[in-house]
Symmetry: C2
Amino acid sequence: MHRRKKWGESAILDTKAPAASSAKKARKYGGKYGGKAVRLPFAERREQILEEATSLFAQHGLTAQTRAIAAACGISQRLLYRFFPTKDDLVREVYDRAIVGPFRARWFLDLSDRSRPVHDRLCDFYTDYLDVLLSRRWLRLFLFFSLEEADLAPTYISSVITKLLETIAYEVAHELKVSMDMPPAAVHELAWTLHGAISHYAIRRHIYGASQHVPQGIVVNMHVGMFLGGFEGIVREFEKAAA
Amino acid sequence: MHRRKKWGESAILDTKAPAASSAKKARKYGGKYGGKAVRLPFAERREQILEEATSLFAQHGLTAQTRAIAAACGISQRLLYRFFPTKDDLVREVYDRAIVGPFRARWFLDLSDRSRPVHDRLCDFYTDYLDVLLSRRWLRLFLFFSLEEADLAPTYISSVITKLLETIAYEVAHELKVSMDMPPAAVHELAWTLHGAISHYAIRRHIYGASQHVPQGIVVNMHVGMFLGGFEGIVREFEKAAA
DNA sequence: ACAAAAGATCGTCAATTGACGACATATGCA
DNA sequence: TGCATATGTCGTCAATTGACGATCTTTTGT
């Protein structure tokens, strides 16, 4: 937001909307349309719109303009409304696809595979999780949704993440042979110390532009090691405090 | 963003701009002005504007309208431009005041007070830090700035936080009597495991609306305990890997 | 070949929004 | 008292933006 952007020079819509017609507006439909866009079948065009909308929302927030999305697709703005009744419908579908969609059911299986050390399972899981979910695009989208659409984000958090936290906590407890006699909320907070630390690592990398120096593998290892190293002590302390 | 908001019913500017004049626009200046706002000295009005702007930016993002800010102050929109040449100038000053301002120099002193156990120092520090800095308002503002104004946020992170991370890491290393023969970036990542975990706790509380069940004091204790419990092992492992 | 369906565009409307010129009124001070 | 100055408002402009009626063009089925 440098000074006021000069009128007509949009920061987002720089792809130059499809020819504003050289002749002012003399002829109405002077024989031929600008008809440039290649004709695509319904489903395909719809995918393309969702894809471009996702990118633009991730870059500029949910306020990214419908005109910019159309320009990115190489189509007229009006055409968007043949696929989505309102911008809000488009926004919601982007949320379902790009936020909730990428979650992998396989993660739960791999995390529960007790034939491998839990340390390795956690490192592998978070390496994958960072690449697939905690990417720059996903994170920016998620934060924009959380900040601007308070009613959508919680859905995602509560259901899937909770299950993930419980899986992690119980797998670690099993390998360390400690019992977890604490209320569910406490179990969640315990697992959040690892999950939150790694999530924040992704946030500072992708959102704040920091933590670029130490390789990701080392960082993941450090976080997992810290978690496993402190886990038993915390559980014992919790049981002592509860007694 | 439910459906399309009806025209004229702004989600943000609901304070009804100071009387749109009952009579359509018949009389131009019909003898008396609407002159409602109490007259304030320059500096005082300026403070008020910054305060209201901060609140609105935190709630709705940096796109909150100048008209809404003016309405919140009970003044005309035009008056804002007597204090800030452009909206962008207002935004930047809000950043300096509300983001960078609240940082306490005292934190560094208290963290370095070796007459107290480092566990207590860390718990006290993060309790205060959560209340003062990682509040809902500060966090939302910081995230909006990070997402929408990529050039401002890094300033804050790099200078102050780095110093904080180093202080914490070295104080813990001193008490645990371990040497820290590792590159600065690694020291930072090490301290980030605690600082990031707590920051993320604040984010999920204030931004995602989660983690409301376990009392803050317990959570802080858990994070600090986890950090101290895993610290030594990680440092040793790092030294082994480097050898 | 030809009409209906599907894909795509033009032009425009009304609300929003940052900015500002012109004008009004209260306050302080000589 | 009287005017210069500081504080404040009105009205409006131009660019932006979601939405949509009216039309045009290509494809498809018979």
